[in-house]
Symmetry: C2
């Protein structure tokens, strides 16, 4: 029998309790032994919930109990999660966490402590909710050099963009609806400004390239500037607008960014809609692969946490996570990244189609009959730097959205 302690009885924590109960028999079989929750740490009491008998308010009770071999951290936020997880690992307890802030910030250090103590620090649930991606990167795609990871890593923004596209609505209206349905937080900044996706792509990039990618270094743009008019142009050219979190290795330089992109219908991420997430991976011998599923939600996230518990139970004294050095990976400046750009521009006597044609050459002009006071165009492939230089000389730019080909 293996005893575990769960830190936090919020959405994911109560999901972990539920999953362990619902699939008790098959989980024990796969783990090779019985898994029992001994403690649940929470500041609150839950007098009408059977969990109450396991509730403790003091982390030290869990830390000092040698019965507890695995700690599940599902509190979120960097502190006190970091302190609790580090102490647990130093005490020889494996940890499974769903906490992307913690992993993005301290992943390399915590993995190192786990390795030194011959135990495991596992974080399948920190990216893509229930989608298996951390373990496949760690133990399936081992024959490949990964040269691209591009994901739709935030369900809230994907829901908002899907609904804007389906119903022709503006960002603000859909955000309100999403908040009412519980798909977006009252303070939606972390989602809609791309910060959540940024932490997740930092984790995936660190794993794929084996070095520390600091999320603060990743250029991040949210979806707040996307309008119903942008989506009219997207439809006209057969593309959809997605918030992509991407990191690509080109000539030994890694370019990482989070931003809204236009993608075409031949891209596997094109049809990932609503709250679903998906992660596209390109390997030098594998080619294209994609992992799709529920990127959030109580039970899918708990499913991923519990799969880590099973793995930790199967490997109690054997470290299984691979290399993620604390050496910092210096990202390339995105001003050198090359792509096409879609631009919407206000018509006036200074800004005409002819001027755009003269400035960019070879542009594809896009006009929407009902939008009489503006037009759109797609540039040829060029660097961000060159685009910015040319765009600086244009007046009346209403929006620019990058194109992923």
């Amino acid at each position: 029998m293996i005893s575990i302690g769960v830190l936090g009885y919020g959405t994911v924590g109560s999901g972990v309790v539920e999953v362990l109960k619902t699939n008790q028999e098959s989980i024990n079989k796969k783990a090779g032994q019985e898994i029992t929750i001994k403690y649940v740490l929470d500041l609150r009491d839950f007098p009408n919930d059977p969990i109450q008998e396991k509730i403790v308010h003091d982390f030290d009770v869990i830390l000092k109990d040698d019965d507890v071999k695995i700690v599940v951290e599902v509190m979120g936020g960097v502190e006190p999660a970091y302190t609790f997880v580090k102490k647990s690992l130093l005490a020889g307890k494996s940890v499974a966490t769903s906490n992307k802030e913690l992993v993005a910030k301290h992943g390399a250090e915590l993995l190192k402590i786990a390795r030194e103590n011959n135990i495991n620090f596992l974080f399948e649930a920190s990216v893509g909710g229930g989608i298996p991606i951390i373990r496949p990167l760690n133990s399936s795609l081992t024959a490949d050099e990964i040269d691209e990871i591009t994901g739709i890593l935030n369900g809230t923004t994907n829901y908002i963009l899907s609904k804007m596209a389906n119903e022709g609505l503006e960002f603000g209206e859909v955000l309100k609806d999403a908040q009412n349905r519980g798909y977006a937080e009252r303070n939606p900044e972390a989602d809609v400004e791309g910060y959540d996706a940024c932490r997740k792509i930092a984790i995936l990039s660190s794993l794929a390239y084996g070095m520390q990618v600091d999320y603060e270094d990743i250029y991040t743009e949210g979806i707040t500037k996307i309008t119903a008019n942008d989506i009219k142009y997207a439809k006209k050219i057969g593309k959809s607008i997605k918030l992509l979190a991407s990191s690509k290795k080109i000539d030994d330089q890694v370019y990482a960014m989070v931003a809204p992109f236009l993608i075409g219908d031949s891209h596997p991420l094109y049809s990932v809609n609503n709250v679903f997430n998906a992660i596209f991976v390109h390997g030098n011998v594998l080619g294209d692969a994609m992992f799709y599923g529920s990127g959030a939600g109580k039970l899918p996230t708990a499913s991923a946490v519990v799969s880590d518990v099973v793995d930790a139970a199967k490997h109690l004294n054997r470290n299984i996570m691979s290399f993620w050095s604390s050496r910092k990976l210096e990202l390339a400046d995105i001003s050198g990244a090359k792509r096409k750009f879609f631009v919407r521009i206000k018509k006036d006597k200074e800004t005409t189609v002819n001027q755009v044609l003269f400035l960019f050459e070879n542009v594809q002009i896009i006009e929407i009959p009902e939008l009489t006071e503006e037009f759109g165009f797609v540039t040829p492939i060029m660097t961000e730097a060159l685009y910015r230089e040319k765009a600086d000389s244009l007046k009346g730019i209403l929006n620019m959205i990058r194109i992923e080909e």
Copy 2:
């Protein structure tokens, strides 16, 4: 250093040699030691290929060399692969194979031998080519009870159906084109009749449910009867036609089948086109997940084989594959499976829209203006048995395609 022996220097075998060479450094790092090919077994000689110095014609050379810890079987077919693999495992060598016939037929037995000898029998490449699916089923989705696996598991038929849909061509024409491009074999029966997909869904089902699913028990229909006219109806109702290999657990009964299905655009498999494969999995707590990628091809398949070699190297004396009992899973008779059916029927005085409406109630009638001598309809949800009973009383049925909702 770990020496390996490769059985077969065909497409996949030469791919394995290429992948190990191309990504030598990172593969050795992930495996924790140097992996070297010591022998390649083939009946042929390759005088102008550097591989020649490793070529042996006698399997016993590999079997008797204690240096060889891992055997890669990429010959295909049941014999002599089965004999070689069994002998290798009994001699304490782990095996990585891409051979679906072997795994479908003898997987349970070979896994048992590996377990008894504390080594590994791994077969990531046997289903879905480069797509990680075996390892995720074995070690990622461990918190779930899997209740559905539905896959597009054959790239040849998916290419043919995609091309028929895109270009309005007939099966025969596209098959010829696929043969010319090397996407279909000269004898295409195993692909187009669904036999290949059938073996693969047998493997996935055995793993998901932990019991032996015999592929001979799986109802299997190919794509040879699909016509350009069927695709016109599919487009009219916003669906695509895919060869699905599916197994579903409903009330503790497992229904498995391989057949062409109509699927709608909200299904994640809808937009899996051309030679790509994808596997949709539903877990009772995870919800929906999908794994997508190159289902065949030299390098993607070799990538999966080599990932197994890395795993075998990391776990030289530790069995890591889970439960697949040799106890036979008795599949439910598909006559009890419920779904909607799409039917095309020839108009004549005995078979009218009214007769169909009377017989099935609530049908959705579909007419294609240019197809004046026929009409189509979609039945309500009913069992296969009831559908067949009603269909028997209708004259002039041109085709029936099941609908996946």
